[in-house]
C-alpha cells in the first residue's frame, strides 16, 4: 500500500512538472515576444521594453520557467499586468467560488447517481429501469449551460425563488453562499449524474454475471443482498475512474456555468484576462485548474487501492 502510494505520488509530481512545462511553453514561448503580444500592435516601444523588464523577459526561457515554478511553490503567482495586483490575490478571491461549486456539483452528482444506478440495476429490464435509463439519456444530451438558462427562467424569473445570479460572498453567511451556488451546482451536476448513473448501472450489471455473484447466491443471499454486499464494491472500480474524469469536466464546466449566473469565479477572471491579453493571469489560472484535476486523480488512484486489494499488492 505504501509502495503503491509512493509510486502514485511520484507520478503525480511528474505529471505536474510536465503540465507546467506545456503551459509555460504555450503561453510564454509560442507567442514570441510576450510583452509585445500583451500590449498589442499600437504599443510604444518603450512601454514594451518596460513590460519586458517587468516580466523578466530578458532572461532565458529556462531561467524564467524556474522563477515561475519556484514562485508558485511559495504561493507567488506573479503580478497581473492589467490589475496591477499579485495574481495570487486575484485567485484567492475567486477560487472560493469555483472550487466549492465544483465540489458541490460532484457531491450532488454522486448523491443522485448512486441511488438511481442501484435502483435501475436491481430492476433490470423492468419499468423502473427503463424510466431511469430514459431520463439519463435526456440528461446526457442536455448542455449544462442551456439547462442553467432554463432554470434561471423558471426559478428566478417566473417563480422568483432565487436571484438570477451573482454571489453575495461567504461573509454573508454559509447559507447565503450555498443558496447562490445551488442552481449552478444543480445545472452542472445533472448531466454528470446522468452519465454516472449509466456507468454505475452497467458496471453493476457486469458484476451480476460474475461467478462470485453465483457463489453469493448459493450461500443463501437474496438477489438484493448479493447486489449490495458483493456487486457494489467491485462495481465501484470503473465508477471511480469516471468520477475522476468528471471532476475535470466539473472544473471546466464551472467556468461556463459561472458565465450564466454571473458568478465571480476563476472563469470570469480568465475571460477578462484573455480579452485584456493578461497572459500571466491566464497562465497561472490554467496551471491551478490542471493542478486541481491532477491532485483529484491522485486521490482517486489511492481510493482504488483502498477498494481493490489486488492493486495494493502491486507496485
Amino acid at each position: 500500500m505504501i509502495r503503491y502510494s509512493l509510486h502514485r505520488a511520484l507520478s503525480l509530481i511528474l505529471s505536474l512538472l510536465v503540465a507546467s512545462v506545456v503551459i509555460f511553453t504555450v503561453i510564454e514561448v509560442i507567442p514570441g515576444d510576450t510583452a509585445a503580444f500583451m500590449l498589442g500592435v499600437n504599443a510604444r516601444p518603450d512601454t514594451i521594453a518596460a513590460l519586458r523588464a517587468e516580466l523578466g523577459l530578458d532572461q532565458g526561457g529556462f531561467a524564467r520557467y524556474l522563477t515561475w515554478v519556484t514562485g508558485m511553490l511559495q504561493g507567488d503567482f506573479g503580478q497581473s499586468y492589467t490589475y496591477r495586483t499579485p495574481v495570487a490575490e486575484l485567485i484567492a478571491d475567486r477560487i472560493w467560488v469555483s472550487l466549492p461549486l465544483a465540489l458541490y456539483a460532484l457531491f450532488l452528482a454522486v448523491v443522485i447517481a448512486f441511488p438511481a444506478g442501484l435502483y435501475a440495476a436491481s430492476r433490470r429490464g423492468r419499468l423502473g429501469d427503463i424510466s431511469v435509463m430514459g431520463a439519463t439519456q435526456i440528461g446526457v444530451a442536455i448542455p449544462n449551460f442551456w439547462f442553467a438558462m432554463l432554470m434561471v427562467l423558471v426559478f428566478a424569473i417566473h417563480l422568483r425563488w432565487v436571484s438570477a445570479g451573482g454571489f453575495p460572498g461567504w461573509d454573508q453567511g454559509l447559507g447565503a453562499g450555498i443558496k447562490a451556488l445551488t442552481l449552478p451546482a444543480i445545472s452542472l451536476a445533472l448531466p454528470q449524474a446522468a452519465i454516472l448513473t449509466r456507468v454505475l448501472r452497467s458496471s453493476l450489471l457486469d458484476m451480476l454475471g460474475e461467478d462470485f455473484m453465483r457463489t453469493a447466491r448459493a450461500k443463501g443471499l437474496s438477489r438484493r443482498q448479493s447486489l449490495w454486499r458483493h456487486a457494489l464494491r467491485n462495481a465501484l472500480i470503473p465508477v471511480l475512474t469516471i468520477i475522476g474524469l468528471q471532476f475535470a469536466f466539473l472544473i471546466a464546466g464551472g467556468i461556463v456555468i459561472e458565465q450564466v449566473f454571473f458568478l465571480p469565479g476563476l472563469g470570469r477572471l480568465i475571460f477578462q484576462a484573455i480579452s485584456a491579453r493578461d497572459l500571466i493571469v491566464v497562465e497561472s489560472v490554467v496551471m491551478l485548474l490542471v493542478f486541481l484535476i491532477i491532485v483529484v486523480n491522485f486521490i482517486i488512484d489511492i481510493a482504488y487501492a483502498a477498494i481493490d486489494p489486488r492493486l495494493r499488492a502491486r507496485a
Binding site: 462470485f212 448459493a218 450461500k219 443463501g220 443471499l221 443482498q225 458483493h230 467491485n234 502491486r314
Partner: protein
C-alpha cells in the same frame, strides 16, 4: 425417503427443450455422479435443484428435498435453504470468490446469514471451517485475499463456504476440472471425507468417467437432456446397457494406432535453455525478484517422432513452448530446428519457423473471426519465399481441408459456422499447409468432449502415417499423452524430471514426481 428426489424434471429455456423427464435420487452419505458430454444438461439440472435458474425458464416435474417440494418454494424460503441445507461448489475457483473481500469475511458471511450469532463467533466458526478443509489459520489467516491463493486453495475456500453450515446436500459442479491432477486428487479426497463426516449427500457433476468410477456410489449418465442410464457405479460400468454409455466409455479409453517412428535423425534440439521473468518487488524497499520459469532444459526430438511434454500448471511448459516457437528470447541456451537456431539476433527466423507449426487449446480463440477459412488456413504460407497464388493456392487449400476430414466448400465459410471439433480440424489444416516437419500441440484436445477428442487423435495418427511429421504434444492429460506419443518428458518447476519411452515411463516411473502424478490420476479400469 430420499434426501433429494428428482422426478420427471423437464425444462425449457426460451422455448428450447433443455431437460426431458430427468429422474434420479440422492441418499444421505451417498455420492451420486451426473455425467455426460457438454450440452447434456447436467449443470442446468444442478441449478434447478439450487433454484438458481436463469429467467425465462419453464419447469415441470418434481424436485423433493428432505420432504419439501423445491420447485414451488417461494424465494425467501429458498434463500434460507440455500447455503444452509443445500450448498454448491462451482467449477471455476479462480473467479468464484469475491476479489475484494477476505476469505474469512466470505466464509463468515455464509454463517451469519443463516445464524444469529456475533461477528466474533462467526469468525471463529469460519476459522474452524477453513481449518477443516485444509487451510490452517497459521498459514492462511482469515484476512487473506483470494488473489493470494492458488487455484486449489481457492477451491478449498469455496468448499468451506459451502460446508460452513453443515448442509445435508452438497452439489459440486465439475469441482476439479480446472485443477491439476495432484490437486484434483486431494480435493476429491476432501469431499469424500466431508461426506462421511457430515452425513451429507453429494451430487457431483463431472464429464470425467475416470473420476466417476473412482469416486461415485451411483452414476447417472445424461445425453441431450435425458437420463440414458443410471444405477450403482459398478453395475453400470459392468453392464453398460445403453449404447451411449458404451461409446462414452470407449472414447474415454481410446487408444490410437500410431505408426512406428522412423530411425532417429535429429530435428529439434533444445540445449540448456533457461528463461527468467522479472517480478516486481513485494515490499517497499524490496528488490525486484526473478522467477525462473524454465531452467536448464535439454532434450532432442527426432524426425517423425511423437514426443509428449507432461506437467502441471505453472511448470513452465507454456514458456518452453513459446521459446521453441521463437516467440520469446531465452536468457541462455540454444534451440535449433534442423540445425538452425529458431531465434537469432532479435527476431525469429522465417526459414526455421516455416518448418514448425502449432495447434492451440481453445478452438474458439484460435481464429480471427473476421476471416474466411481459406484465408485462415493459408496464413502460414506467408512464411514461404514464393507463396502459391491463384488456382494453385485454392487447390492446396482444398486438398488440405480434405486431409483433415473437411470439404473444399468449407473454405468459403466463417469460423463461427463450425463446431469445436471441426475448428480443431481447421487448426490442424492451418498447421499442415506449409508442410512443416514439426507440429506442436499445446493442450490441443483438452477442451474437447471425449468422443470428439478420440476422432481428433485418430486424425493425428492418420496424418503422421501419410506425412513425415514429428509431434510435440503438450498436455496435462496423462492418458492422452500415453496414447499418442512414443516418448515422454515430465516437467516440474521449470525442470525436466524424467524422460524416456512413453510405455516405460508410465509402467515404471523412476522419479517420485512422475510416480505422484500417475498415482493421482484417476483411472477408468481399476476402481479403488
Amino acid at each position: 425417503m430420499s434426501l433429494l428426489a428428482v422426478d420427471n424434471l423437464s425444462l425449457q429455456i426460451n422455448d428450447t427443450d433443455i431437460l426431458h423427464d430427468v429422474s434420479f435420487a440422492v441418499q444421505p452419505r451417498e455420492i451420486v455422479a451426473l455425467t455426460g458430454e457438454s450440452g447434456s444438461g447436467k449443470s442446468i439440472t444442478a441449478l434447478s435443484v439450487m433454484g438458481l435458474l436463469p429467467q425465462g425458464t419453464v419447469v415441470s416435474g418434481q424436485v423433493q428435498f428432505d420432504g419439501q417440494s423445491l420447485l414451488d418454494l417461494p424465494e425467501p424460503a429458498f434463500c434460507r435453504l440455500r447455503g444452509n441445507d443445500i450448498a454448491m461448489v462451482f467449477q471455476e475457483p479462480m473467479t468464484a470468490l469475491n476479489p475484494v473481500q477476505t476469505i474469512g469475511a466470505q466464509v463468515a458471511e455464509a454463517i451469519r446469514i443463516h445464524q444469529r450469532i456475533t461477528r466474533r463467533a462467526a469468525w471463529t466458526h469460519a476459522a474452524k471451517t477453513l481449518d477443516r478443509v485444509g487451510l490452517p489459520n497459521a498459514q492462511f489467516p482469515l484476512n487473506t485475499y483470494p488473489h493470494q491463493l492458488s487455484g486449489g486453495q481457492r477451491q478449498r475456500v469455496v468448499i468451506a463456504i459451502a460446508i460452513a453450515m453443515r448442509p445435508k446436500l452438497l452439489i459440486a459442479d465439475e469441482p476439479t476440472t480446472a485443477l491439476d491432477v495432484t490437486t484434483q486428487a486431494t480435493v476429491l479426497a476432501l469431499l469424500k471425507d466431508l461426506v462421511a463426516d457430515f452425513d451429507m449427500g453429494l451430487l457431483i457433476i463431472t464429464h470425467d468417467l475416470a473420476v466417476v468410477r473412482q469416486f461415485a456410489d451411483q452414476i447417472v449418465v445424461m445425453q441431450k437432456g435425458q437420463v440414458v442410464e443410471a444405477g450403482p457405479t459398478e453395475v453400470v460400468f459392468d453392464q453398460m446397457r445403453h449404447p451411449y454409455t458404451r461409446s462414452l466409455f470407449a472414447a474415454s479409453q481410446h487408444q490410437v494406432d500410431l505408426p512406428a517412428p522412423p530411425k532417429p535423425a535429429p530435428l529439434l534440439s533444445v540445449k540448456d535453455v533457461t528463461r527468467i521473468y522479472k517480478r516486481p518487488a513485494q515490499t517497499l524497499f524490496g528488490k525486484a525478484t526473478a522467477f525462473t520459469a524454465v531452467q536448464d532444459v535439454s532434450f532432442e526430438l527426432h524426425k517423425g517422432e511423437r514426443v509428449g511434454l507432461v506437467g502441471e500448471s505453472g511448470c513452465g511448459k507454456s514458456t518452453l513452448t513459446r521459446a521453441i516457437l521463437g516467440l520469446d528470447a531465452t536468457q541462455s541456451g540454444e534451440i535449433t530446428l534442423g540445425g538452425l537456431p529458431v531465434f537469432s539476433g532479435n527476431a525469429p527466423q522465417h526459414s526455421v519457423q516455416r518448418k514448425m507449426q502449432v495447434v492451440f487449446q481453445d478452438p474458439y480463440g484460435s481464429f480471427n473471426p473476421r476471416h474466411k477459412v481459406a484465408r485462415l488456413i493459408a496464413e502460414p504460407l506467408y512464411l514461404s519465399d514464393n507463396p502459391p497464388q491463384g488456382a494453385v493456392r485454392a487447390e492446396l487449400i482444398a486438398q488440405t481441408l480434405q486431409d483433415v476430414g473437411l470439404t473444399p466448400e468449407d473454405a468459403e465459410k466463417y469460423i463461427h459456422e463450425f463446431s469445436g471439433g471441426q475448428r480443431q480440424r481447421i487448426a490442424i489444416a492451418r498447421a499442415l499447409i506449409s508442410e512443416p516437419e514439426l507440429i506442436i500441440f499445446d493442450e490441443a484436445v483438452s477442451a474437447l468432449d471425449v468422443s470428439v477428442r478420440a476422432q481428433i487423435l485418430d486424425l493425428l495418427a492418420d496424418l503422421c502415417r501419410k506425412r513425415p511429421l514429428a509431434y510435440l504434444f503438450i498436455s496435462h492429460d496423462l492418458s492422452v499423452v500415453r496414447s499418442v506419443t512414443d516418448r515422454v518428458l515430465v516437467m516440474q518447476a521449470g525442470k525436466i524430471m524424467e524422460q524416456g519411452q512413453t510405455e516405460t515411463v508410465f509402467q515404471d516411473p523412476k522419479h517420485p514426481y512422475t510416480k505422484a502424478l500417475l498415482d493421482a490420476a484417476p483411472r477408468l479400469d481399476s476402481p479403488v
